[in-house]
């Protein structure tokens, strides 16, 4: 046995700043290929940063299951549009968690000193697969124990939502408020797919999918891409007066035996948040975080994840929502972008409404979506795989 000091170390060679971001429209079907979508997002991010593709040292690409596109190893296929030709290029993938995991990978490229300028590009085209993107999700289940039961992916969310409601005594009405808030926020997002003014009634009377989950509890399948430019401090200072810094990153996975854990609390998010907060020296997230973009593919998921992120106590997130604390002009704005429920859910490309949104908020570049309060610190989070991965990134505009 060897001796070691317990716990993770967060040694880094240099700080990491975000200086540009890009996002395409999120839509059910785009006439563009994945390569073309990637190009548009990257081009925007480069322009915002004031850089050329030749300035990029390394490229991280994030994209979810190959089965969406019917192209195996699509990381390679998407190379050209991703700006990865003839430079170090890699794809990372943890299902829905990829939207925050890809920038985490970009972070370690720069923090380690391997790259000074790293481009992170995420893309998803969910509309290629027929009859429905759900058909591709058939292949995430355990082939022996689960698949013979003919499962639909919505099942697990419905099971989790029911457990969360039961354990914390929460009504569907309280959860529907999240969908109302986020779809409303999305009205101000230029890329949004399903922005609309709806009521709690609309959610509760929408088509049943797998109860308690109804149509308006769910984000839509989407196509889209988004990009970030992550750079070392000496580059950031040359490019902008208002860089946004990555203060902490964290990721964790819970067991694949998902039926063997209590589904009311996302432990994978709590563990990931613990790592990110420790790195960012955050001890009281509810007080120290000014704006949050938790992953909201379902309305209950925003509440679930707020509690995992320590922004609310267990069972408290619906109360904060009802009291308007999480509104864009509230004390703790949550999903001011409109989130996945309002802007759309192109799995990995949701980086654009999670990490990029926090970047835009902290750089005061969010336009009509800019939150009312003064902001210095924000958190973005994503979740995915077989409901088991949490990825968290803490950003700040202070140094």
């Amino acid at each position: 046995m060897f001796e070691r000091i317990k716990g993770l170390k967060f040694h880094k060679k240099q700080d990491v700043a975000i200086v540009g971001a890009g996002i395409t429209l999120f839509r059910r079907r785009m006439n563009e290929t994945g390569k073309e979508l990637s190009y548009y997002a990257v081009k925007q991010a480069l322009e915002e940063a004031g850089l050329e593709i030749s300035d990029i040292d390394m490229v991280v690409m994030g994209s979810a299951p190959d089965s969406f596109d019917g192209i195996h190893m699509k990381g390679e296929y998407l190379l050209d549009g991703s700006g990865g030709s003839n430079r170090p290029y890699m794809r990372v993938f943890v299902g829905g968690g990829t939207g925050v995991f890809a920038p985490i990978a970009g972070y370690w490229h720069v923090a380690s000193g391997l790259a000074d300028v790293c481009l992170v590009i995420t893309e998803e085209k969910m509309s290629s697969v027929h009859p429905h993107p759900q058909s591709a999700f058939k292949y995430i289940w355990d082939p022996i124990l689960d698949r013979p039961l003919n499962p639909n992916l919505i099942w697990i969310f419905a099971l989790e939502m029911r457990r969360y409601m039961h354990e914390n005594n929460i009504k569907h009405e309280d959860i529907a408020l999240v969908s109302v808030k986020n779809k409303g926020n999305a009205l101000d997002h230029p890329a949004a797919q399903v922005a609309e003014k709806i009521t709690v009634e609309d959610v509760l009377s929408s088509e049943p999918m797998a109860l308690p989950v109804r149509r308006l509890d769910v984000s839509p399948p989407s196509d889209g891409a988004s990009a970030l430019i992550m750079v070392a401090p000496h580059i950031a200072r040359q490019l902008t007066d208002e860089p946004v810094w990555v203060d902490g990153v964290g990721w964790a996975l819970d067991t694949t035996w998902w039926t063997n854990r209590d589904l009311y609390f996302p432990r994978y998010v709590a563990e990931a948040a613990k790592m990110a907060y420790k790195m960012a020296h955050i001890t009281d997230p509810r007080k120290e975080i000014d704006v949050a973009e938790p992953y909201d593919p379902f309305d209950y998921k925003e509440l679930h994840h707020m509690e995992g992120l320590g922004l609310a106590k267990k069972g408290e997130a619906p109360i904060l929502t009802r009291e308007g604390v999480t509104a864009r002009d509230g004390d703790l704005p949550v999903c001011p972008s409109g989130g996945l429920l309002g802007v759309g859910n192109p799995i990995a490309a949701t980086m654009g409404v999670k990490v990029a949104e926090i970047y835009w908020q902290l750089a005061y570049r969010a336009g009509k979506r800019q939150v009312a309060k003064e902001v210095t610190t924000g958190v973005a989070q994503a979740w995915g795989d077989l409901m088991q991965v949490g990825t968290v990134m803490v950003l700040s505009n202070k140094r």
């Binding site: 059910r28 915002e48 429905h132 099942w155 029911r162 457990r163």
Partner: protein, 176 residues
């Protein structure tokens, strides 16, 4: 695009719209139908093989880790938390408790079902708390199901069992 303060010249060229079944029929969408002849033979593995053979005999088998004292189902050959081999096999009752459930109106391709089905996570009696499996409920009205309901496995006839999770047809409420 007016995302930021800076005037970005790169426009959102992308033109998206919803896809209709008509678009496919009228050939507006490039459409390739592909039936690759790929088949998979999955290895059930040491633990799940024994579990499946147990199902064939109408038994639910679990494994036990003497370090963390968990009785685990579905069984595994190693405890993923203690990271050591399991110590023994135990047979469980074919009864359990509904931990959570859903009434599903859609099939795996998101097509509507004629009759909704009830799916549940059922924790098995005799295993450690919350040791659930995914399965279906039957012989019960959807609005009668509740979390905490005691249920019992309804098995296929012995000669019809194939060593599959579907050797249990569904779980039904225990009377009283």
């Amino acid at each position: 695009m007016a995302v930021g303060k800076k005037n970005i010249s790169a426009p959102l060229y992308v033109e998206g719209h919803g896809i209709e079944a008509e678009d496919l029929k009228e050939g507006k969408v490039t459409y390739v139908e592909d039936h690759p002849d790929i088949r998979y033979q999955f290895t059930a593995g040491q633990a799940i093989s024994k579990f499946l053979n147990g199902l064939k005999e109408g038994k639910i088998l679990a494994t036990k880790c003497n370090k963390c004292r968990r009785v685990m189902v579905p069984p595994r050959m190693f405890c993923e938390l203690c990271y050591r081999p399991i110590d023994e096999w135990v047979e469980l009752e074919d009864t359990g408790t509904v931990e959570t459930f859903s009434i599903s109106y859609i099939d795996p391709d998101a097509r509507p079902l004629d009759e909704p089905e009830i799916v549940a996570v059922i924790s098995i009696d005799g295993a450690s708390p919350k040791m659930g499996i995914l399965h279906k409920l039957g012989e019960v009205e959807p609005d009668k199901v509740y979390i905490g309901m005691k249920v019992k496995a309804v098995w296929k006839l012995p000669e019809e069992r194939e060593g599959m999770i579907t050797d249990i047809l569904y779980w039904k409420p225990i009377e009283g």
